[in-house]
Symmetry: C2
Subunit: 119 residues, 2 copies
């Protein structure tokens, strides 16, 4: 039995705008939401965890497979994953003993659009 | 007379990799360099300043035109711009009394590639 937690991903204000970051002056709320995403990525361990999930088979990674590559304890890795999940950058699914993570594509699309990639 | 300061933009380790963030497990140095860029963007004022520069005529903005839109003092805005310049996200050109800023395209390309946009 599994429980999938779909965390909030794409903030409406950002999604509504085609290319918010470089497409024009951004309203304060959208700037706040984007900054939150960037801040969550502003840590080398979290950047590595994201890259590990993206590189994993089926683009899904068990927490049990993330600790060794970053050389940190499971509680520490879990803390980083919690921050990434709270920011809406990953989704988490509990299967038995382990948590499995996927990248939240909607949120990454928001970041891509924010960096003006749909121009 | 003007002085253009080209700050370091694309870290070599990142540039050498096609899509570092979601293309595979990232080495620690590249993760550190990417995290530094994301961290610099992890502040709503800096996100707004970036959007203002991108939206400015000729994609260049005078510091004198950035203070009003974000509603902050010039020293505060200058501090944020200094952090963005140190991260390599903007370039700065002093012309007479005022500093003018442009987005550092190389660095934004690095971010775009990191978010797997060249796939």
């Amino acid at each position: 039995m599994s429980t999938r937690t779909e965390l909030p991903t794409t903030p409406v204000g950002i999604a509504a705008c085609c290319s918010p970051l470089t497409g024009g002056a951004l309203d304060p709320d959208s700037a706040q939401q984007l900054a939150r995403l960037f801040k969550a990525l502003g840590d080398p361990t979290r950047v590595r965890l994201i890259s590990l999930i993206a590189a994993a088979q089926d683009a899904e990674a068990c927490i049990c497979d993330l600790t060794d590559p970053v050389g940190l304890s499971q509680p520490t890795v879990s803390h980083h994953m919690k921050l990434l999940a709270e920011a809406g950058l990953v989704t988490r699914e509990q299967r038995g003993k382990w948590a499995y993570y996927r990248l939240a594509e909607n949120t990454f699309n928001t970041l891509r659009q924010a960096l003006n990639l749909d121009r």
